[in-house]
């Protein structure tokens, strides 16, 4: 056909397209080169999580957006450092238990103002606590399961009466309940669904500007420790994924981040060794949950065999890039919970021992079939499903390691990679065999043990359990938890914890694997004073609240 010469007059549509796109991009990138590389910034940029655009809600009791609210804008009465388990007075200058431990009296700090200039008083504290009673949807820590009444005898005193002695409440009450201004929140209607678009708090920052892609907080001049605030502005850009967040961090535009990345030394630190740092202190324990309501996981020998067969060293090094050290068999997070570590378990460590695992199975009547898989007396094969979350790449690698360890022992494991909500649902409902999951940390080992082991946090299979997903029901453990909770005497509490540690070691209600860390990367080119191994003044992640406020107050301009 003659027409084939046609194109010769216009050579290369494709290259023309490419060239024009290139030209446009050059032009646009040329516009971009200004305003970068400002040396002394008066702000820091924070990436606490990558969960997409923001919604303009600063309600500290609304779980959809906590980072830009808890701590930085709204404050608590006390500050609990989960790292060393110390307590610092904050909006309260002190607290006092009655002798029978059924009453806590807080002394409220005077001279504290809301960011709109109104004074903060015991009235606001009483109002906030009663609001949680009125709207149970806000009572995320179940305070009113324990509290009977809250009163303010005078502007600087708040008296909280409890149904019964329950000392762990001090953390949720003093350390995790964010104070709201009565003069604003008393007129907002249903406070649990109130957006609080223009927050008024007592904290070091207030809202400067909001777009779904960037929240900017600026210094609150009415803050009660205003002289400590050296960071003028805190910026929270929105990220959809770790990928772009990590590139932003690696390019030096992020000062404070909480991102999991496999080879951080190479991808981040080596890029600017003088300024780029990371530190992953332990938060809680990554457990292999075993469904003890189900055969064969109700057999201690099977749980022991599982635990003995797992190569935790490999889990730590390969799956978690060496960031997460091995967990203590006692279920204690070290070094945080050091003072509750029973001396007899202080040096106890997990070691992989396939022979011992085989002995365990043999002692329980399991025999290996011709296919190399153990079966019980009735010929039922030892076969199980290991649940793990899609997209949690480190956990998936870990699950594969566990599966191959158990296969080597003679247990058939099917790694079941499912969505996060399906995984959570299986745990809650008890429709799992074994599953990887974190635990619920607090400023003492009580919190992990209470969530993990208390029978009231469990439920029959088919009903939703709060947190005791493995469904451990042991009245002795409940009594030990009560012993801890009904006392504020360290020796009594230590004794209670030692009893539970013994259960963890001897009965393996859940199988500890590794310490779960706080993810934490920081850049020292603009600001110094970040928490590190020698300065654990607060949990360092921007998603640890209200620790985020404490960290910001420690920052100083780099000289």
């Amino acid at each position: 056909m003659t027409g084939r010469r046609f194109g010769q007059r216009r050579p290369g549509w494709g290259s023309l397209l490419l060239m024009s796109l290139m030209a446009v991009s050059m032009l646009l990138s040329a516009c971009n080169s200004s305003a970068k590389h400002v040396v002394h910034r008066n702000y820091i940029t924070v990436v606490a999580n990558a969960s997409g655009d923001y919604t303009q809600s600063f309600n500290p009791y609304n779980t959809s957006n906590l980072t830009t609210s808890q701590g930085v804008i709204y404050e608590t009465l006390l500050f609990f450092n989960r790292g060393d388990e110390s307590i610092t007075p904050w909006l309260a200058t002190g607290y006092q238990y009655s002798s029978d431990l059924t009453q806590v009296t807080f002394t409220i700090r005077s001279g504290v103002k809301w960011s709109d200039g109104q004074p903060f008083s015991s009235d606001d504290v009483v109002f906030t606590l009663n609001l949680l009673k009125k709207y149970p949807a806000m009572d995320l820590n179940g305070l009113w399961n324990q509290i009977t009444s809250v009163t303010a005898p005078d502007p600087s005193t708040v008296v909280v009466k409890l149904k019964a002695p329950f000392t762990p409440l001090l953390w949720s009450l003093g350390g995790q309940t964010y104070m709201l201004p009565k003069h604003i929140w008393s007129t907002v209607g249903d406070a649990s669904t109130y957006a609080d678009a223009n927050p008024v708090g007592t904290g070091p920052y207030k809202l400067k500007s909001f777009t779904p892609q960037l929240v900017v907080l600026t210094k609150n001049p009415n803050f009660w420790q205003a002289d400590k605030v050296k960071v003028q502005e805190v910026r929270y850009p929105a990220f959809d994924s770790n990928t772009s967040a990590e590139l932003a961090m690696n390019s030096g535009t992020v000062d404070w981040a909480a991102i999991y990345t496999p080879d951080i030394q190479k991808t981040y630190v080596n890029r600017d060794p003088a300024h780029n740092h990371y530190w992953f202190p332990p938060s809680d324990i990554l457990m292999l949950f075993v469904n003890t309501a189900k055969y064969p996981f109700n057999q201690l020998a099977v749980r022991k065999a599982l635990s003995l067969a797992i190569d935790r060293d490999k889990l730590s090094k390969v799956a978690e890039s060496g960031y997460e050290p091995l967990a203590s068999p006692a279920g204690i997070v070290l070094p945080n919970d050091q003072k509750f570590m029973a001396p007899q378990y202080a040096n106890l460590q997990f070691t992989m021992d396939t022979n011992a695992a085989q002995q365990q199975l043999a002692s329980a009547g399991f025999t290996k079939g011709s296919d190399g898989i153990y079966a019980d007396k009735n010929g039922k094969k030892l076969s199980m499903r290991l649940d793990v979350v899609t997209g949690f790449t480190d956990w998936i690698t870990g699950a594969q390691i566990i599966a191959s360890n158990l296969k080597a022992l003679g247990i058939d494991v099917n790694v079941n990679t499912i969505s996060q909500d399906a995984w959570q649902n299986n745990l809650s409902m008890g429709t799992f065999d074994i599953s990887l999951c974190w635990t619920n940390p607090g400023p003492s080992p009580y919190f992990i043990f209470d969530a993990l082991l208390r029978s009231t946090n469990s439920a029959p299979v088919g009903q939703a359990a709060n947190s005791n997903y493995e469904r451990w029901n042991d009245p002795a453990v409940d009594r030990l938890l009560d012993q801890f909770a009904q006392s504020n005497d360290l020796a009594t509490q230590q004794q209670a914890m030692a009893g539970i540690e013994q259960v963890m070691v001897d009965q393996l209600p859940s199988i500890p694997l590794l310490n779960e860390p706080y993810w934490y990367e920081y850049n020292t080119s603009s600001y110094v004073g970040w928490p590190d191994a020698g300065h654990l003044y607060a949990e360092p992640s921007p998603y640890a609240y209200p620790d985020d406020e404490i960290v910001l107050l420690h920052l100083q301009p780099a000289s």
Binding site: A195, D284, D421
Partner: protein
């Protein structure tokens, strides 16, 4: 007129079916919003949090599924899409309008660009069937679009955004220095931020248009009327565009209309890689969080857009294809 009424009835039934499925399907998956939120908190919540969250999200309300369905239809009729759980307490309509602008501009514009360029290139390579251009372009673009989009996007982001620094790494605009609105700074910044995402989308989708057009065009070129046009000595450009391309473009128009409908569903992978604002990521979040209202709202939007686009395609056929016009005229 009767034809038009029949079409309208068809669209109404399709809409009702879609809306109903939209209600049923999200509720079939296990779990609920409270559990999903608990999982999102990564253990940084007390065991009691689940009860508070269930109250907050209205889980375990004792209304039967049927009552919920009636209420849902009623709310829809009043234009009330409900409140998003993911972005509590923001209404779904606000979440959608927040993200729709970005999605419409990015996905819409790239769709038009890749449709126009792809179709023209397809016509051209078919016209020059067997030439060097024909043996290079389609395989090249097929190769490019065969590479998983995620990977291409990451490479572009890494090379042009991170290593060379020509383009921004994340976001829809520079939120640090510009404010959204009709001002030059914002528009320039938004354009800068859109180049890489747009370019990767075009690279990923253009091969389909090229191949579709090329293949139908080659069939068309063998038709007698094209030969006759050549015999009459008409200019080449006119033969190519008015005789061959006009007839060959019909299948491409259909898929263009369908794609146009799906524009509102966003470009999920693009949004994830470039942290670009848009509907796709909101939909993903909604699904992960059992955010029924938001899922329903976004799917409703998609359904309406797809039906509308189909209707437009019907109309376009009437204009482009005399045979359709003729049949309906009778």
């Amino acid at each position: 007129m009767r034809h038009l009424l029949r079409r309208a009835a068809f669209y109404a039934v399709a809409l009702w079916v879609a809306v109903t499925l939209n209600f049923v399907i999200p509720r079939l998956s296990p779990g609920n919003p409270a559990q999903a939120m608990l999982a999102r908190l990564h253990g940084k919540a007390s065991p009691q949090a689940i009860h508070a969250l269930e109250i907050l999200f209205g889980v375990n309300t004792h209304a039967s599924l049927w009552e919920q369905y009636v209420q849902y239809l009623g709310n829809l009729l009043h234009g009330d899409l409900g409140v998003s759980v993911t972005y509590l307490p923001t209404p779904v309509s606000q979440v959608i309008t927040r993200d729709l602008f970005w999605t419409l501009t990015l996905v819409g514009v790239t769709l038009v660009i890749s449709f126009v360029i792809g179709t023209l290139l397809g016509a051209l390579v078919a016209w020059r069937h067997g030439s060097a251009l024909d043996s290079i372009l389609p395989p090249m673009f097929t190769f490019l679009s065969a590479i998983p989009y995620f990977w291409v996007a990451l490479i572009f982001l890494y090379v042009f955004g991170f290593t060379l620094g020509w383009f921004p790494i994340y976001g829809g605009y520079d939120a640090d220095t510009t404010t959204p609105g009709m001002n030059l700074d914002f528009i320039v910044s938004a354009l800068q931020h859109a180049v890489l995402p747009a370019f990767t989308i075009i690279i990923g989708s253009i091969a389909g248009w090229i191949l579709g057009m090329r293949n139908t065009m080659i069939t068309t070129l063998a038709e007698d009327y094209v030969l006759m046009a050549e015999a009459k000595g008409l200019p080449e450009r006119r033969i190519m565009l008015t005789y061959a391309a006009r007839n060959a473009i019909l299948p491409n128009i259909t898929s263009f209309a369908l794609s146009l409908g799906f524009v509102v569903s966003g470009a999920l992978l693009t949004e994830i890689v470039f942290s670009y604002p848009g509907i796709g990521y909101a939909l993903l979040q909604a699904v992960e969080n059992h955010d029924y209202s938001l899922i329903e709202g976004i799917f409703l939007l998609i359904v309406i857009a797809v039906l509308a686009a189909n209707f437009l395609a019907d109309l376009a056929y009437v204009v482009l294809d005399p045979r359709v016009r003729h049949e309906r005229g009778r």
